[in-house]
Symmetry: D2
Subunit: 344 residues, 4 copies
């Protein structure tokens, strides 16, 4: 046998020079019976990190930073600027009077407001004023900038598909050249035009991303309150909605599914897992989530992540409203997505 | 030649017995260079007919009538219960305390509230209270009933695809057996669930009709006011929106396109024509429309019809808000729809 | 009561002048519990009518006729140039050396070759030579002409959506000005380009109609022979396939579904009905079909029609191959289509 | 300044313990102005590696190997079992009498036959016999096995989305338990049923992958010969076709676009680049390709790879027929794909 091993080593070395490698030595690690990855469950409690976020405001100017963001790095992939294998998440701080200059890139971004009110995001010539719980999109390859004309700091969750775009070798980016792009559309125009059950006659879509780029929290919250009266709860997820593109009923962003869910006080969910590792941002309420072997208590403004195919289970001490995002739209388009519910 | 004519006559008679007919004698009438039809322009001014509508409330009970409706019959097709070749329109009266009993049919219906407030339509276990300008759908083959619990009469426009369903030989209808179907969903549930930029996670569509069955006027009106600030007016149609199914971005009803448009005070449109004969219901404002050789002044609650491929042109003395419907969704699906704008 | 009747008569007369009519007097006939129409079952046996078809070749020149076609008129709708409420069918004769001049119209047409071989149809700059059993499309608003360069007469079935286009008021037609349009593409180009599991990179569809306009019978027949080895027979329809548009997998023509089915020798089907009245053209084999109360023996080149929602049932004495067409694509797009299978 | 640097270091260390990292230190490497990756242009000439492939047949049994494949590893990513960032490619050898046992996995695979004839692939109960130039799919999560009943070795190109499935954490795999799955459908059934311009009436798709799993070369080659008569050549790509799923007209596999192109003798293309790194397998003809700074002569059975956004340019000494695949379907679904043509 040693001679056989030796023979194979020689062969592998020889073909290696020709950029060939034996599949049979690595197949078991490439095509695995279940998902294999380095993503770990983790929580970022807002109380623990708020001071660090605010400290970044003293440490570095908005100008210098371009975007002053603390990346939520998955503890299983330190130094990789990722919260899951495919997604980036960070908490962005913008102080009164600051701007984050206009640029565009092929990465899609979502903003979910965590603290503060009155800063704005401008997309494609239209500004939207941001409030806690608002979900705002800066679509792939559209000019966008942010500014804070209020008198308090604002913090929002940034969710981007940076690893996806990098993986496919498709990153492009440009700066506008000035801090703010010109405003050509009144505030609320996109929501009125596309988000009220109507579309301009003859509207032709230009991308897969929703033309509505701001989904205000008051509207979402009110929808949840109306719906809960029907008392139909998913055993694992309570009442879970996805934000949709009104032009086609698909996810609002082609690369990232975004969701809002309500767990009623006293909810004790069954275990659940899916192949889309998911990032959660708590808006209201206190509860507990078990992810894999870990158990996290959570409250408002906390963030946590559940890895792909890892069981997780919710309990809600109070009515909980939780925003989340994942790469599910991609997985569904590619026939890769699976989910499973366990027993109570 | 007479003998040739005679010979043909004999031949035609002989083959006629075998259910054969010569195309060459009729081709010119079947495949015409431009649309040929019997639809005429017409207007029904509300002031002229309101007394007749109210009189129907004395003449016949709701019970007896099942639906107490005056059909808007096109003057070019008397006795055919049609306002265009493919569409039915009528004005329905429901008095305080009355009900229109629950039934379902394969005909799709739209309701557009003209007068009164506080009556309801129930669809598939959910009630919606109706106000002027509200657009309500009773989808194909869903149980629906109406009732008026208010203390004033209500009148709404009924638009149905009755001629379409008849043409295709696909009419089915059933009665529920009782006046009112049981209510299983709270009011506002459908709008919350499907009409706020969200969809329940895992939602699977069951039909081509919008699951939102009530599009309140205040929401539509507010959208128009926001949009008008952009000052982008179509030369013929002003600012024209179509009601959409949020599940797929298509028309709200698969057989009937429904639209709301705003013509700003002073608007003088260019001529326009399209192959979809269109029924208009004025909500607000006074103006004039020229259709073919006719010129009609119109005001709130008036109804008029523009035939297929007939030029029409709007002028608005005041801000006008006009609802309309046509068979455009069908024509577009079949590659039949055409439109044309003329010169000012 | 007489006075009440009188009162209503007066009322009806008065409102009639205002183009209003009482729905309650006609509702029962408009929204019926089951489909109501005048279409009757009928058969046209080729042996009975071939002489009449050939006689048309002597009676009238191709030039004079533009298209020399005998319409298959439904006995329930004499003089209406229809085989069902929504469809036109005819048998077209083209003699050696003749041409049917180039034109285009918004009506879509299918050609199904019944007798003869070697004539051609030219569509949009490409000719296809026709053989028995071939299914050829002349799409909505594309230039087309026909010619017979062979030395025998050719007869084909014409199926058109003439009543549909008329019903929607959307007929447009133009003549090319010369008998033959110029040929710019080699024969077979469309089939190679779109019909072999491939599409040109970057192909953008321009209409809902298949870009493949000729589906040769030998290919269809061979597919049926391969498939039958799996011995999976629908209890009513045997092995039934629909012709599809390879660009979207939908029906080949947006207004008319086209089908080919194989009934194996000895097949005794269960009763079947659907809301799409269907026209059948027998290609091979002898059998029997019961439609409603009637029973027809059929053989090759015979044509028959089954009305909407009328039960029909097949028996096959030999292997039977039968082409058919109906308005099913429209009904499915509008959520109107229903089918039902009965017991053996 | 040193104190500021020191201060930041401390801050970074402190927040690092909380799984936070400063975006501003890494942003330039995450969101790049143009694609950044490690993929290099490379060629594998068949003459150089055929002996190595055959030697693998002596070195290791099919049984032992499960799949006896030499991975084509990109020289820029040694040891990563990838030919591009997102795709895997290998050359698989199967000797007479051998089998590659039945299994299934969520990875999609394409097989493109390079040498030999008469081996088979079985998918979901149906076998297909393979010949040079045939393109065969083993779809996501379908049982498949291979065997060689011929008397010569067969070599084919394996293309898989292994890195994609791994990236999204969605790998699942199972073994059937026996070498061969049972055969329940006759050979040719899928092609007859779905690949001839027809679909079984009532067919409901179950996945995004084409139900046709074998696209024979003779059919593709004949289509190219017919099409070339039209003499319409893309300046960069000659005549390039994509394999499509006949059920929806989309790419045959949702994760990998597959293409066949013809470059006529004498073709001298303009430079071209796109964001989808592409793997090429030459079927017929000799020519040259410049990729980035490199220039490769190629002939039949050679394989080469062009990185994302790297210019490449073809010259054809003879008629060349070239198969290729890339991740373009994913990029297009995500609005990430770009292409550019240069000047001659």
């Amino acid at each position: 046998m040693p001679s056989e091993i030796e023979e194979r080593r020689k062969y592998y070395a020889a073909i290696g020079k020709k950029n060939l490698a034996p599949l049979w030595e690595v197949l078991h690690g490439l095509v695995t019976p279940e998902p294999v990855h380095r993503v770990q469950p983790a929580i970022w409690r807002y109380d623990d990190i708020r001071d660090d976020i605010m400290a970044s405001g003293e440490l570095i100017t908005a100008k210098e930073a371009e975007r002053r963001v603390l990346i939520l790095e998955n503890p299983g992939m330190p130094g990789e600027s990722k919260i899951t294998t495919s997604l980036y998440a960070g908490l962005q701080l913008i102080l009164p009077g600051e701007v984050a200059p206009a640029h565009r890139h092929t990465q899609s971004a979502l903003r979910f407001v965590v603290e503060g009110a009155g800063a704005y995001t401008a997309v494609d010539g239209e500004r939207t004023t941001m409030h806690p719980g608002d979900f705002v999109i800066t679509p792939n390859w559209t000019w966008h900038d942010h500014g804070n004309d209020s008198d308090e700091p604002m913090v929002w969750l940034d969710g981007l598909d940076i690893p996806v775009v990098g993986f496919f070798g498709a990153s492009f980016a440009e700066k506008w050249g000035e801090d703010r792009q010109p405003i050509s559309r009144p505030e609320g125009d996109s929501l009125a035009r596309y988000g009220q059950g109507l579309l301009p006659d003859g509207y032709a879509r230009r991308s897969h991303t929703s033309p509505v780029f701001s989904y205000p929290y008051d509207r979402t919250r009110e929808a949840l309150e109306t719906m809960r009266r029907r008392e139909e709860w998913d055993a694992a997820q309570g009442l879970k909605l996805s934000y949709v593109n009104p032009v086609n009923g698909d996810f609002a962003i082609p690369t990232m599914g975004t969701f809002m869910q309500l767990l009623p006080a006293g909810f004790a969910g069954v275990p659940y897992r899916a192949t889309d590792a998911t990032v959660f941002s708590v808006v209201e309420g206190r509860g507990t989530v078990e992810i894999g072997e870990q158990r996290f208590d959570f409250g408002p403004r906390d963030h946590f992540v559940a890895p792909s195919w890892s069981w997780y289970r919710f309990e809600a001490a109070e009515d909980c409203v939780i925003f989340s995002f994942s790469d599910r739209p991609i997985q569904q388009k590619l026939d890769l997505w699976r989910e499973q519910r366990g027993n109570a």
